[in-house]
């Protein structure tokens, strides 16, 4: 397990969360309160699905065909970065604004400035205790279809994290001691 755990708070801005995840090369992180107790998890999938749903709704209502009124109307105060990048593709097909204009709106968006981890995170977190066996992590990841398990102590403080890539390395180590290739 990794002990130097990247965490966010509910108030972390979405943009800061994206930058941190990108810089550290990870796809998600636990969200903690001021005492370091776990309150949720945020992943790039949470960040990603939001606006895709929003733009699908707008397409159904045929609102993407008209002039874009405000960024807030599109994002409804939420933010999805990958989905945002996909807007260019969706909108160019309807001959709407260029990506430069969209980025300008994005930079000036009040919704973006306000969007926080709290809006997209999952509060139901699957966790493990440090004394539980490593293979339990694999079982939990498979059962819940998740990629990371925060390790918490008796008071729910985050003390570590196990990711799917850690499981792969553990299997590799176990197999490595076997037949030589």
């Amino acid at each position: 397990m990794t002990k130097d755990v990247v965490t966010f708070t509910e108030k972390t801005s979405i943009i800061d969360a994206i930058k941190t995840l990108t810089r550290r090369g990870i796809s998600g992180a636990p969200v903690v309160d001021d005492d370091g107790r776990i309150v949720g998890v945020v992943t790039d999938y949470d960040i990603t699905n939001l606006l895709k749903t929003e733009t699908d709704e707008l397409k159904k209502e045929d609102r993407l065909g008209g002039r874009l009124r405000t960024w807030d109307e599109v994002t409804r105060g939420g933010l999805d970065f990958l989905g945002f990048l996909s807007l260019d593709y969706l909108w160019q097909r309807r001959e709407m604004r260029s990506m430069d204009e969209i980025f300008k709106l994005f930079k000036e968006s009040e919704a973006l400035k306000k969007a926080t981890v709290k809006q997209v995170m999952t509060s139901k977190v699957v966790t493990m205790h440090p004394d539980e066996p490593f293979r339990k992590a694999l079982e939990l990841m498979s059962r819940h279809d998740i990629n990371r398990i925060p390790i918490v102590d008796d008071e729910n403080h985050v003390v570590g994290i196990v990711a799917r890539s850690d499981m792969l390395k553990a299997i590799a180590t176990q197999l490595g001691g076997g037949k030589a290739k």
């Binding site: 990958l82 969706l90 498979s142 197999l175 290739k181």
Partner: protein
């Protein structure tokens, strides 16, 4: 706006597998290269893709089935072929696909990696979710 060819990890750096490789080799290659997925090639052509989720899910299923000691089930499972766990429906784009299109495909098809291929389905490179987000952030700054 960036194109697929500018965002991808180029062919020579892509970790790949063959359909007849055993899973032991898949694990070794994914873990030692620190990648979360690998295209499966027959010659130059992409015939499938294997992710670390496919691999860990497979081992978990094997462990549950055999109920033997964890060691024996893992060793036995490792002998299976990559072709038996790979996803055959691979999401791909051409080298001129835009950042927007790649982002849309990843969101729409719920995949974490997309292969870049030419008109003969030969592998040109691979784009992972993190590569798209990074490219998007660079465009934004």
């Amino acid at each position: 706006m960036k194109k697929a060819s500018e965002m991808m990890v180029p062919r020579e750096k892509v970790v790949t597998l063959k359909p007849d490789d055993d899973i032991r080799e898949a694990v070794r290659r994914l873990a030692s290269n620190g990648v979360s997925g690998a295209p499966v090639l027959q010659g130059d052509r992409v015939v499938g893709i294997v992710s670390e989720s496919d691999v860990t899910g497979f081992f978990e299923a094997a462990r549950k089935k055999t109920k033997g000691t964890a060691t024996t089930s893992i060793e036995k499972a490792a002998e299976s072929k990559v072709s038996s766990i790979m996803t055959k429906q691979v999401v791909s784009v051409g080298p001129d696909a835009t950042l927007g299109r790649v982002a849309h495909l990843m969101t729409d098809r719920k995949v974490n990696r997309i292969v870049v291929t030419d008109s003969h389905n030969s592998l040109l490179g691979i784009i992972a979710r993190a590569d798209v987000i990074k490219a998007g952030l660079e465009e934004l700054q």
